[in-house]
Symmetry: C2
Subunit: 472 residues, 2 copies
Amino acid sequence: MNKLTLKSLLTETRKGFEDLLYLAMDRRIRLAVTGLNQAGKTVFITSLIHQLLMGARLGGLPFFRVVADGRFQGAKTVLQSSMDIPAFRYDQFIESLKGHPAQWPRATDGLSEIRLAIRFRPGGLLHTRFKSTHTVYLDIIDYPGEWLLDLPLLGQSFNDWSNEIFALCKTPPRETLSRPWLTYLRQLQPLQPAEEGVLRQASRLFTDFLLACKREPFGLNYLQPGRFLIPGDLKDAPLLTFCPMPATERLPEPGSLAQVMAQRFESYKELVVWRFYQQHFSNFDRQIVLVDLLKGLNRGPDHFADMSRSLKSILKNFDYGRSSLLSRLLQPRIDRLLFVATKSDHVAANQHNNLERLLRRIVMDSVNEAAFNGVAVETMAISSIVSTETVVKEYEGKRLSFVRGCPKGRSEEVLLFPGEIPEKIPRPEEWHTERFNFLEFEPGSPMDDGDGRLNHYRLDLVLDFLLGDKLA
Amino acid sequence: MNKLTLKSLLTETRKGFEDLLYLAMDRRIRLAVTGLNQAGKTVFITSLIHQLLMGARLGGLPFFRVVADGRFQGAKTVLQSSMDIPAFRYDQFIESLKGHPAQWPRATDGLSEIRLAIRFRPGGLLHTRFKSTHTVYLDIIDYPGEWLLDLPLLGQSFNDWSNEIFALCKTPPRETLSRPWLTYLRQLQPLQPAEEGVLRQASRLFTDFLLACKREPFGLNYLQPGRFLIPGDLKDAPLLTFCPMPATERLPEPGSLAQVMAQRFESYKELVVWRFYQQHFSNFDRQIVLVDLLKGLNRGPDHFADMSRSLKSILKNFDYGRSSLLSRLLQPRIDRLLFVATKSDHVAANQHNNLERLLRRIVMDSVNEAAFNGVAVETMAISSIVSTETVVKEYEGKRLSFVRGCPKGRSEEVLLFPGEIPEKIPRPEEWHTERFNFLEFEPGSPMDDGDGRLNHYRLDLVLDFLLGDKLA
């Protein structure tokens, strides 16, 4: 036993030492990517890597400073450092985008990671003279948005959390969707002895409710605990077998339903959320959060409100200004945080600014920017891969911007008028049926014919914001 | 951060304290159940629990001493203690066995756990006078046989292991099945720089080889690393992306194919095998290993040899007598180890003794029993659930034992003569085509009409060996 543990200690120490060395030399960047429900995370990361791998040889990243300055020497994928984290399968994903016909890659389900080595010449007079070349290791970590939305649970008691859920269940669509679960819950006495069968049934109905919220046509995001939706190897474990309970007048006795539920909630926080925070989140340097605002508009005001709630809840993790328990607990070292509205190619080019402005409103409105002590927060509207073309045409004497592309599930291109993006969050009376109906598209021919690079909108700005200072 | 860790520490301490208390009072038994490929682990545990739950009320466990003595007061399932281990879903499994028609429950895939509380009156004069009742908590832990077969890796270097695999690949059926992998491997230079694409392809071909060995018609068991076959949440992680490599003359440099493969093998040992040992295996009190010897005989001599190799490899984990690195590393506290040949009802009752004797030969032959310092090793032939009936008939003037049951995939009962079980391992020349062709059966009507209890063979002996001394 001694030999093995000593050995593993040495391995750990050595690994830790190398990482520390890179860190001290500012040569290792851990970029975390997550997104709300179906925001296009896999496609985003695939295209980002693709742009970096192609970056040295071709144009197409005019606003990525290190490339524009001619200092970018090249990038390649190298062996990842974490042995027990699944690889982000860039090789498979780029393959399906290069196919004929090109296909969207299948979305990933849990945590995954990929490492790139980026070689560049530093700017500045001294470096220019000596033509020295530096290497930076970029780890891109892909993880489900649900895990990020779980972090605030660390600052909540079981009663706080239960009350929040019960309050949310008073508004549509949760009001209807939660009915089977709440009906069952009303038959239970919080102080009755806990039995596994009852815990399971209550938990199953609660999980069904969460799954119904997540599914079409609702597509909600503010759904905790996140692992109830993606259990992986923890399926059927007690820490995924509980649900919110009404508060009791007296402290529930050990072994009572309410006490066991609360105990499992605490175990979930400790063994799932806290572990994710310690092992992963606290080591991230940069965080990007992807949002599909267009789908948000399609789905109407309830969904939109839920999306806003999710984004604000995410922001709270970074809000050092407030002296909440959470902000004291969680001091991520993330110093740049980027919110991105994806799939901007689904609307005409003249709407992209509005898309970005709308996202900015949602993210920034309720938050005092000064509160983000040391964290630069930015918003952008991008397209990881451009699958349409904007066509300007005369219509009844006016110039209108149309979009040409192949809608999802169809094989022919069509020309359509997707309509306009509001630059402000629509007021309740402004939402009316069919106001928003943005379509999804097939990838089409995403490669530029000339240089074999995936077309994108503004990934260069994304790269410059996230990595620029590290490649200066 | 302080609050959370302090709290978790307290929770851990309290939990640890309770467990320690039960342990000190001899009131907690961790019974581990595993089996080779499709030995019927789920059905075995389901029936074992069922017998215990019914035990107090009904007969049917005549050789389980505590029941026979009338001291058994009852058993019930209670909340399990491990929060992050999936529950063994007895409720679902017994349901499918009680259905009309009864169906075999679906096999489980990873680790799972269930806890029973057993109440009994201790024997002995003093206790009898005071009529005191004791409670024992029985944790049944179900885990894949592949994990147990992985333990010996802890004592092997990458070169040892590679050489063992290469040697095995010289014998059928591995010789043919390993060809695509070995052909690819021969194109590689062990000292070439490691690239993820090559690592992946080599590892994929090796994994395909392992999967082909496991599948019908081969059904081999001696297949490491076990997680290559059941990756769960570790799918695509580097520690599951390697394969054996030929030894190199000089020490491979960091970053070479051979060095990276070896590094990943070490990570697998450390983060998968060693973790399983520490977190689970080292806490087991009793271990039962299930084997389907009948399928072993059907599949012929290569399979049978592989099964024997697997069982001997398992035994080595307990072989304190030898002064190997492994025996010094691993000192499990398991003090009773039971090997069981399952599905004995697939042959006539007069063959059960031979089945048990055959198993004993395989397990005991090569091992000096005295070496098992402090571990009681036993073999039995049982049937977790009886799905056939033995019928004795005259055939050409002789009495022959037939079996009546509904063969798997059919809906009508048939009467058949399954043949005889050899009591010794057949010599090479004794295996000939069609000598053994034991059928699998549908569960039929597994409940006894009289008392609604699942019929079994010798589960009472199993219970008495595994638990008897703790309920004395």
